[in-house]
C-alpha cells in the first residue's frame, strides 16, 4: 500500500510539473514579480533602500532580495521550474505531434463517414480548381468501389509551431544562464595612453585615443575610442569602437560605455614635488599615508564666470575649466571650493595643482559564451510562431459517388474564418 501511495505522489508531482496549468501559474508569478522588479529600483546599495523604504517595506525588500530581484535565488528557482515544465511538456508532446505531422489520411474512416458530410454542387472537372483556390494543390485521388476520393492534408508542419516555440524558450533561458554564469563583464577606463589589465583575463587594453564628436549645434554625435588589445603584453589586435559599433575580437567584445573628465594632479609637500597622478571624476588623490586627500567632485569645462554660484557650463568644450574640489586632512574635510587650472590648492604643508583636463573613456568588456545559443533560440522562436500562426494545418476530403459530391474540410483550431472562406469558395465554384 505504502509503495502504491508513493507511486501516486510521484505521478502526481510529475503530472503537475509537465502540466500547462503549472506553466501558466509560473508565467503569472514571473509576470507579477517582474512588475515588482520594475517598480523597485534594482541593484542599488542597501543604504538606498534604507533611506527610501521604511519599516515593513524595507524588511520585505531585504528579506526577499527585491532590490536584486532578477538575480535572487528564488527568481532563478522559478525560471528553473519553468524550464523543467517546458522541457517535460516538450518531451511528452513530441511523439504525438510528430504523429500528427506525419499522419496519412485515413480513407477507411472517410468511407465510413462521407454520407454524414455536406454535399456540394461542384462538377468533377472543377474539383481541382476549387481545391487549389482553397490552398490544396495537387490533390491525391483514389477509386474505391465506384467512389472517387479526393484528399489532401496541407501545412502539417504547422503542428510543430507551438512545440518549436516552447523549445526556443528553453534555449533562450539556458543561453541567458550560460552567459550569466560562464561569461564575464568588466569595465576599464582611462585617458589616451593608459594601459589597463582586463580583470580575470590575460588581456590588457591600451587606450590610444578618445574623441567626442559634436554636430554644428554642439550636441554630441558620437564617442570614438581607438585601442590596442594585448595578451600578456603582446599586441594581438587593434581598432576603433563607438556607440553601436563595438570592438569584437579574440572572443571578447568591447563597448563604448560612458565618458567623463580627468585631470593631471600634482602634490607638493613643503614646496617639494611629492607625487603626481591622473585624477578621474569622483576619485580621491590620497597621499602621505592618508594624511592629505584631494577629491575631484566635478569639473565644469566651460564655467560661467558671470554667475559662479550657479555652477553652470556655457558649452561642453574645455574653454574655461574649473574644478569643484574637496580637501581632506587627517580624514577631516577642511576645504571645498573652485579652482581654475594651475591654481594652488593649499593646506598646511601641502599644495595641489591641477591642470590639463582631458576626457577619459569608460569601456565595457564582455564575454558571453551563451550569446550564439540565445540567437539560435530567438530564430527558433520566430520560426515556431510563424509555423503556429501562419502554417495552419488543413484537411480536405471530397467523395464523388454517381453525381453526388460530399465534402469535408477542417482547419486546425476550428477557425470560423476558415469556415466562412470555405463557404464563400463553395458558392463561387458552384456558380461556375
Amino acid at each position: 500500500m505504502e509503495k502504491r501511495f508513493d507511486d501516486n505522489i510521484f505521478k502526481k508531482i510529475f503530472r503537475m510539473f509537465h502540466s500547462m496549468k503549472f506553466g501558466i501559474v509560473l508565467l503569472v508569478v514571473i509576470g507579477v514579480l517582474s512588475i515588482i522588479g520594475t517598480i523597485i529600483p534594482q541593484n542599488r546599495s542597501d543604504v538606498f533602500y534604507m533611506e527610501n523604504y521604511h519599516g515593513f517595506f524595507y524588511e520585505l525588500i531585504n528579506v526577499f532580495d527585491l532590490g536584486n530581484l532578477y538575480s535572487s535565488y528564488w527568481y532563478i528557482g522559478l525560471m528553473i521550474l519553468l524550464i523543467i515544465n517546458l522541457f517535460l511538456c516538450s518531451i511528452r508532446r513530441f511523439i504525438p505531434i510528430l504523429k500528427r505531422v506525419t499522419e496519412k489520411p485515413n480513407l477507411d474512416k472517410v468511407l465510413e463517414e462521407y454520407k454524414t458530410w455536406d454535399t456540394i454542387n461542384i462538377k468533377e472537372d472543377k474539383i481541382n480548381g476549387f481545391a487549389s483556390d482553397l490552398g490544396f494543390r495537387n490533390l491525391e485521388t483514389k477509386n474505391v468501389d465506384g467512389k472517387k476520393i479526393y484528399y489532401k492534408n496541407i501545412n502539417s508542419m504547422g503542428y510543430l509551431g507551438s512545440w518549436i516555440t516552447h523549445v526556443s524558450l528553453i534555449v533562450i533561458i539556458l543561453a541567458f544562464g550560460i552567459g550569466r554564469y560562464m561569461g564575464y563583464e568588466v569595465f576599464v577606463y582611462g585617458i589616451p595612453g593608459t594601459v589597463r589589465d582586463v580583470e580575470g583575463t590575460n588581456y590588457q587594453i591600451q587606450i590610444d585615443d578618445f574623441e567626442m564628436r559634436f554636430d554644428e549645434n554642439m550636441v554630441v554625435s558620437q564617442y570614438v575610442t581607438s585601442l590596442t588589445l594585448l595578451e600578456n603584453g603582446e599586441i594581438i589586435d587593434s581598432g576603433q569602437l563607438m556607440v553601436n559599433h563595438p570592438f569584437r575580437g579574440k572572443g571578447i567584445n568591447i563597448y563604448q560605455n560612458a565618458t567623463g573628465w580627468a585631470l593631471h594632479a600634482f602634490l607638493y609637500k613643503d614646496d617639494q614635488a611629492y607625487k603626481q597622478t591622473v585624477l578621474y571624476n569622483s576619485e580621491f588623490f590620497v597621499e602621505d599615508d592618508g594624511k592629505i586627500a584631494l577629491q575631484f567632485v566635478e569639473l565644469f569645462p566651460d564655467f560661467d564666470m558671470s554667475d559662479p554660484t550657479a555652477l553652470r557650463n556655457l558649452s561642453p568644450l574645455p574653454n574655461n575649466p574649473v574644478l569643484l574640489y574637496a580637501l581632506y586632512y587627517n580624514g577631516l574635510k577642511v576645504d571645498m571650493g573652485l579652482a581654475r587650472m594651475g591654481d594652488l590648492i593649499e593646506y598646511e604643508e601641502y599644495k595641489f595643482i591641477v591642470n590639463r583636463p582631458e576626457m577619459y573613456t569608460l569601456l565595457q568588456i564582455n564575454h558571453d559564451p551563451g550569446i550564439t545559443f540565445a540567437a539560435i533560440g530567438g530564430l527558433l522562436q520566430i520560426v515556431g510562431l510563424i509555423f503556429a500562426f501562419y502554417l495552419r494545418p488543413k484537411k480536405l476530403r471530397i467523395v464523388i459517388e454517381d453525381d453526388n459530391v460530399w465534402l469535408w474540410s477542417k482547419s486546425y483550431g476550428n477557425d470560423n474564418l476558415y469556415k466562412e472562406e470555405l463557404n464563400r469558395k463553395i458558392e463561387k465554384w458552384e456558380e461556375q
Binding site: 558620437q222 563595438p246 571624476n281 561642453p316 564582455n366 510562431l385 470560423n416
Partner: protein
C-alpha cells in the same frame, strides 16, 4: 514657411479630422444612423491622408523615419492604427469598428500633441539601422493589439445586444469577431517577439548586453507573457468569447503602459534624455 510649421499644421489638421471622425462614429452608434458612419469613415480617410503628409514632411525635415522619440513614435503609432482600421474596414466591410478604434486613435494622437515636436539630432545610441526595424515592428505590433482590443470591445457589445437589428447589420457575428481578435493578437504577438529579439540585438551592440532587465524590456516581456497566457488558454483550454475579449482588452492596457507608462513613470535606459545627460556628465 519652415518645414516644422508645415508639419505642425498638417498634424493638427489630422488630429481635428480624427476627432470629427470619432464624434461621427459615436453618433453613428448612438443614433443608429448609417450615414454618420459613412461620413466618419470618409473624414477619417481625409485625416489619414493629411497625417501621411505630415509624416512625409517630418521625414524630409529630419532626414530619417519619424520613429526616434515619444512624439514621433506616438504620431506614427496613431497613423498605423488608422491604416489598420482602413484595411480592416475595406477587407471585412467593418465600419462599426471605427467606433471602437477612433477613441484609441484619438488618445494616441492626443498624447503625441502633448509631446515636444522639435527636431533634434539623434543621440549616438539611436544612430543604428535597428532603430527603424525595432520601432517600426513595435508600431505594427501595438497597432495589431489595438485592433484586437477594438474588435474585442465590439464583441462584448454585440454579445450584449445580440437581438438589436442595428448591431446585427453593422457588427459581424460574435464567432467571427472572436476569430478576428485572435488573428490580430497572433500577428501582434509574432511581431512583439520580433520587437524583443531585434531590441536584444540592438541592445547588445549599444549597451553591451542583449537583456539587462531594463523596465522597458521587462514590460515588453510582461506584455508578451500576458498574450502568451491568452494564447495558451485559448488554444488548449478553449478560452473564447467574453473571457478572451476581456483578456484582449487587458492586454492592450498593458501595451499602453509599456509604451507610455514606462517612459514617463519608471527610470529606464529607453528614457533617452536621461542617458544622454548621464553619459556626457558635463551639462
Amino acid at each position: 514657411m519652415d518645414l516644422l510649421k508645415i508639419e505642425t499644421m498638417l498634424f493638427y489638421g489630422a488630429l481635428i479630422g480624427y476627432l470629427l471622425s470619432m464624434v461621427l462614429f459615436i453618433l453613428f452608434f448612438v443614433n443608429k444612423n448609417d450615414k454618420q458612419g459613412k461620413y466618419g469613415r470618409n473624414i477619417l480617410l481625409i485625416g489619414f491622408v493629411i497625417h501621411t503628409l505630415a509624416l512625409v514632411v517630418r521625414t524630409i525635415n529630419t532626414g530619417r523615419l519619424p520613429l526616434s522619440n515619444q512624439y514621433e513614435f506616438a504620431t506614427t503609432f496613431a497613423w498605423a492604427i488608422a491604416l489598420c482600421f482602413l484595411i480592416f474596414e475595406k477587407k471585412f466591410d467593418f465600419r462599426a469598428l471605427g467606433t471602437f478604434v477612433t477613441p484609441i486613435l484619438f488618445l494616441i494622437i492626443g498624447y503625441a500633441a502633448m509631446r515636444d515636436k522639435s527636431v533634434r539630432p539623434l543621440m549616438p545610441a539611436l544612430q543604428s539601422k535597428w532603430l527603424a526595424i525595432h520601432v517600426g515592428l513595435a508600431i505594427i505590433s501595438y497597432g495589431a493589439f489595438a485592433v484586437a482590443a477594438g474588435v474585442s470591445g465590439m464583441y462584448l457589445l454585440r454579445d450584449k445586444f445580440n437581438q438589436d437589428t442595428f448591431f446585427k447589420r453593422n457588427i459581424p457575428e460574435t464567432d467571427k469577431l472572436d476569430d478576428l481578435s485572435y488573428r490580430a493578437i497572433a500577428l501582434g504577438f509574432l511581431l512583439l517577439s520580433l520587437v524583443i529579439i531585434t531590441g536584444a540585438i540592438w541592445a547588445e551592440a549599444a549597451w553591451g548586453r542583449y537583456w539587462a532587465w531594463d523596465p522597458k524590456e521587462t514590460w515588453a516581456l510582461i506584455t508578451w507573457i500576458i498574450y502568451s497566457i491568452y494564447l495558451h488558454l485559448r488554444i488548449s483550454k478553449g478560452w473564447r468569447g467574453e473571457r478572451a475579449a476581456w483578456f484582449s482588452i487587458i492586454g492592450f492596457i498593458c501595451v499602453i503602459f509599456t509604451y507610455v507608462g514606462v517612459n514617463t513613470l519608471l527610470p529606464s535606459l529607453h528614457s533617452y534624455a536621461y542617458i544622454l545627460y548621464e553619459a556626457i556628465g558635463i551639462f
